[in-house]
Amino acid sequence: MSISETDRGLHRWSPHLACSSAGDFEMVAAVAARSGEQMQFMLLFSRQGKLRLQKWYVPLSDKEKKKITRELVQTVLARKPKMCSFLEWRDLKIVYKRYASLYFCCAIEDQDNELITLEIIHRYVELLDKYFGSVCELDIIFNFEKAYFILDEFLLGGEAQETSKKNVLKAIEQADLLQEPRHEYFNVPVY
């Protein structure tokens, strides 16, 4: 027999390969490339396409962030209500869900679990809801910093840090208790 061989070059392994076929050779792929597996970013935007919150778990330039946001908002808004909550977008999987006027949209990698991501979104909504008391878009606009703080208690670096609702809210409550009483500022000029 004769063997000829060709080199396929230094292709970066693409995450697609792993899901495409089973077999234990996938381990190779896993070792090499799964290190990046996590949530890539989370975006909250309104039905009008206004971005209300953005959290990036991978380093990207501002330009890239803007481009991704624009494209994704357009793609998701174009989808009809009964459609499925997952879609392939570039090399990523998008998981999104609409709550009232707000879309919650997460980008995860090929190996990640769509359904559990959907419930990450839901748990975050529950946390906001409990904290603000029946949350609405305006709460998030006017208290965007709180929305970020709650998210940081729940997810860190794109991974679940604390999934217990009680514990997350306890942490935020404690922080709130550390706040200076309001009257201290009553006489401070507004601008």
Partner: protein, 960 residues
């Protein structure tokens, strides 16, 4: 929740946000923002020192402006000042600003790091968490340098609060991802693994993400996590829905942690310890059982969380790919989801089934759902779900259902979304070729493709149908008749005209006997399309015409007249004009003999891999190709299956390749001879020029040689002699006799995965080299050598790093016993040269073509092979399960056809196949007689060549 929590008194911020919201236009908004920026700038620059509250408020406003999408180029220093405030909210806003806005600004980073350092050592858990969140959010290299050694200490210290541990674990994970070289393994690593046992579920949830990532990079150091993970999982799975209190989510105990545990286990092969494995299988079974129980709540959150675990468990089952029982159960479960009312579940089931389709154990089970999947393709309202259905059909396709699947995909194409049409076309073309038993079906399919979706049929597709028609005598007449009929349509796609022109030019004579398709009728039909076509198609048609002159002398006058008319001979397009002039001249000067030689029928194309797979892969990324990705690779991989690389023959091969390339444009393979024959005619050299200039791009790379490349270029390859094969090389080889994909080899440094596929006497093997360490491998070299007369050492390049892939094209010249050797050498930074030799799992049975036959045929052949040396027999003890399904899967994996109802004893297995080598075909018959009581087998092989019987018998005796 206390009312105080809603905002903390920054009224100015609220007013500003309201102002922005009240802006009627973009311009008004910008104006308002600029006013605010000017105000903040003057405050920051002003002489009066700002109090902490004002600083916080202004920084927060800047943040808001930035989040609206405007650039912010000041305020960083004020934010950094806030970090050292001892008021929590000021610190918090400072950290938020830094997390969102700061990139590596060296001056600032130093100040930020200082503040972080203070907070980390403050022993105030809330401050520590803020600092850790900031590191995790920014994750820059400077921060890794400053804190990578500190954080592990915080993580494992006995007195660290749980909440701080959680943040520390994920913070460390982020640093490990961005700067793995700075996070050094040490004494802390073993203690981290034990966090899996922590009482606090939140700590386990956070720590497991870190452990999973570390295990991927250092599997050996962390392998104790497997048993810990299994016992944790088992406790969760068996707990009642209320046991875990707040970690129960809609009656599902700890869904996030469960998913992460199952994901961690996917970093490892199945546990070797029987007890651990048993416990894990029990967990997986429990998860599958729970899917059948009635839901504990009607809320979608309940079913989502439950199914998230189920899908993760199925991923693990697929990853192990060794438990036929679980695989089939998983498949049945997904089958139920295929008809679920939740679109999300249908989508995921289709997606997950794609991977199940490629496991030998579950392929058949997946196939039973074909009708449902076809139905999904037809009726799903969401295009992304239909896309999944199409992918699954493609993945489950095999010889038995190809006709049905191709037909369904074709009919779907008529209404398919534009966005996915090209991909669908490629898939149909690939399946039609791959599973064509009857080539007239193949031709019909491709012509239908062109008819239905001509615009999406790329060149690769129609080139391919022509190659196949040219190479197969038996389909040429049919092809000519079919294209002739297809061209009758008043409007037909230009691609159809191309295929039609080419095929009639070559094989029009095969249908010319019928007066309805006489030469002139054929010509007129083709020429009726001429004026509607683009230049390249017209050029092709002109070539068809000159071929007609040779095929049918009676058309000569008509065609010459066409060529002579001004619109041809004076066409403004140089290519067309030149062809018209040259063909006209050729037809009037050359004698019939010369014409017949010049315009001889195309020689067969060298057998090549289909170029359309490459196209599909390019289109959608490697994953799209699913099962059949095994045989893609194509052009960049150097086309010819070893054809261009047979040592001494190379020159000859290259020459003949070049010639057949020319002949694509209908010019005979003896062109060179003809040119010399016609040397007195000045136009002939032009002819050859013009033709060689028109060689379609398809054929470049035809005589590609793999050139050895070394990487990095400067470093010389390790010069040590290849090591002798590892002692376990034979054992590793034996694992692959009945399967084509898997992990060939693994140690602490390196993992080598293999995917391969074979067709007739050709094979293609993909080798995946995974670097399991975090350091680069230098001078990575692999060498393949074949024992026996055909020594052909080949050195590919390779690089160290994450994972690289190598492709081998294999041709079986004659039967053989010894496997080729694969030698790998590389050095690790600071380590010794690694030198290891394995046997490549290429065994003679890979070149089997299954042969179906009746009982009488079988016994007749069995008797014919009755010489004593043609038979090899072995009686041996069973080493593996004697389960029927497992045995069948193995025998099918062997490559032979498993024949039913042949052996009078239904317990016995009978197989038949033909081994294809370049020089000959070797018929083989096999009989395997299990004796369950004695746990023994008797294996008998009869082959037309004695060495093959012996070798197969040796190989197979190891398998059962």
């Amino acid at each position: 929740m206390p009312a105080v929590s809603k905002g903390d008194g920054m009224r100015g911020l609220a007013v500003f946000i309201s102002d922005i919201r009240n802006c009627k236009s973009k311009e008004a908004e910008i104006k308002r923002i600029n006013k605010e920026l000017a105000n903040i700038r003057s405050k920051f620059k002003g002489d009066k020192a700002l109090d902490g509250y004002s600083k916080k408020k202004y920084v927060c406003k800047l943040l808001f402006i930035f989040l609206l999408g405007h650039d912010i180029d000041f305020g960083h220093m004020e934010a950094v000042n806030l970090l050292s405030s001892n008021k929590y909210t000021e610190k918090q806003i400072g950290y938020l600003f830094i997390s969102v806005l700061v990139n590596s600004n060296s001056e600032l980073i130093r100040l930020i790091n200082n503040a972080i350092k203070n907070d980390l050592s403050s022993r105030n858990p809330t401050f520590m968490c803020l600092a850790l969140h900031c590191i995790a959010n920014v994750g820059s290299r400077e921060m890794a340098e400053a804190f990578a050694s500190e954080i592990p200490r915080i993580l494992v210290a006995g007195d660290t609060m749980d909440s701080v541990k959680q943040s520390a674990a994920l913070c460390l994970l982020r640093l490990y991802k961005t700067s793995p070289d700075l996070v050094l393994m040490g004494e802390w690593t073993s203690r981290v693994v034990h966090l899996l046992n922590d009482q606090h579920m939140g700590v386990v949830t956070a720590a497991i993400s870190l452990i999973t990532c570390l295990s991927q990079k250092n599997p050996d150091e962390f392998k104790t996590c497997v048993s810990l993970a299994v016992s944790r999982l088992s406790r969760i799975v068996s707990s009642a829905s209320t046991d875990l209190q707040d970690y129960t989510y809609y009656f599902v105990p700890a869904p996030w942690l469960s998913c992460k545990l199952l994901r961690l286990l996917q970093c490892y092969p199945p546990p070797e310890d029987g007890a651990v494995k048993g416990r894990l299988v029990e967990c997986l079974e429990t998860i599958l059982n729970k899917a059948q129980e009635p839901p504990k709540s009607k809320k979608v959150q309940h079913s989502n969380a439950k199914n998230a675990i189920l899908f993760e468990a199925i991923s693990l089952i697929i990853h192990y790919d060794s438990e036929p029982n679980l695989l089939v159960r998983a498949c049945n479960q997904l089958g139920q989801f295929l008809q679920h009312r939740e679109t999300n579940l249908r989508y995921l089931a289709l997606e997950s089934m794609c991977t199940l389709a490629s496991s030998e154990f579950s392929h058949e089970a997946v196939k039973t759902h074909i009708e449902t999947v076809i139905n999904a393709l037809k009726t799903e309202r969401d295009v992304s779900v239909r896309q999944r259905a199409a992918d699954l059909l493609y993945a489950m396709c095999d010889r038995s259902n190809a006709k049905q699947i191709v037909a369904e995909m074709l009919s779907y194409l008529e209404t398919a979304d534009y966005s996915i049409r090209e991909e669908m076309v490629l898939k149909v073309a690939i399946l039609a070729e791959k599973y064509a038993v009857d080539y007239s079906w193949y031709v019909d399919t491709i012509l239908n493709l062109i008819r239905i979706a001509g615009d999406y049929v790329s060149e690769e597709v129609w080139y391919r149908v022509i190659q196949i028609v040219i190479n197969r005598d038996d389909v040429q007449g049919y092809a000519a008749k079919t294209v002739f009929e297809a061209l009758q349509a008043p409007a037909c796609h230009e691609n159809m005209v191309k295929v039609g022109g080419y095929i009639l030019g070559e094989f029009g004579n095969l249908i010319a006997g019928d007066p309805r398709s006489s030469p002139l009728v054929q010509f007129n039909l083709l020429h009726s399309k001429f004026h509607l076509c683009s230049v390249p198609t017209r050029a092709l048609l002109l070539s068809a015409y000159i071929k007609f002159i040779n095929l049918f002398p009676e058309t000569k006058a008509t065609i010459q007249e066409v060529l002579r008319c001004d619109s041809q001979i004076r066409n403004s397009d140089v290519e067309l004009q030149q062809r018209a002039v040259e063909y006209l001249k050729l037809s009037s000067i050359a004698s019939t003999d010369v014409l017949a030689t010049v315009l001889e029928e195309m020689p067969p194309f060298p057998e090549r891999e289909s170029s359309i797979l490459a196209k599909l892969k390019k289109k959608k990324g490697p994953g799209a190709v699913s099962v059949t990705e095994l045989d893609d690779g194509k052009r960049e991989a150097g086309e010819l299956n070893g054809g261009g690389d047979r040592g001494p023959d190379t020159a000859a091969m290259a020459a003949s390749n070049a010639v057949s390339t020319l002949s694509l444009l209908f010019i005979c393979k003896t062109l060179i001879a003809v040119i010399s024959h016609f040397h007195s005619y000045p136009f002939i050299p032009y002819l050859s020029c013009c033709l060689s200039a028109s060689i379609p791009a398809l054929f470049c790379g035809l005589s590609l040689h793999p050139c050895p490349v070394l990487w990095p270029p400067s470093s010389a390859p390790p010069s040590e002699d290849p090591a002798p094969p590892l002692s376990e090389a034979d054992e590793l080889l034996n694992k692959f006799v009945c399967k084509n994909n898997g992990v060939l080899f693994e140690n602490q440094l390196l993992q080598i995965g293999i995917k391969s596929e074979y067709r007739q006497n050709l094979g293609r093997m993909y080798l995946f080299y995974g670097n399991k360490t975090s350091v680069q491998f230098a001078s990575f070299t692999t060498t393949v050598s074949c024992p026996g007369e055909l020594h052909k050492p080949v050195e590919p390049l390779v690089e160290g790093g994450a994972q690289i892939q190598q492709v081998l094209n294999i041709e079986c010249i004659t039967d053989f016993s010894d496997a080729p050797l694969l030698n790998i050498k590389f050095s690790r930074y600071g380590g010794a040269l690694q030198n290891l030799t394995l046997k490549l799992p290429v065994t003679i049975n890979k070149f089997f073509q299954p042969t179906e036959m009746s009982s009488s045929d079988f016994f007749q052949r069995w008797k014919q092979l009755s010489q004593p040396q043609q038979e090899a027999q072995k009686i041996f003890k069973a080493n593996h399960s004697m389960d029927t399904e497992v045995l069948k899967a193995k025998l099918l994996g062997l490559g032979t056809a498993l024949l039913d109802n042949i052996d009078p004893n239904p317990e016995n297995y009978v197989c038949a196949g033909v081994i294809q080598t370049k020089s000959q075909q070797i018929g083989c018959l096999l009989r395997l007689e299990p004796n369950a009581q004695a746990q023994m087998y008797r294996l008998t092989l009869r082959c037309s060549k004695d060495t093959v019987s012996k070798r197969l018998c040796e190989l197979l005796a190891q398998q059962f």
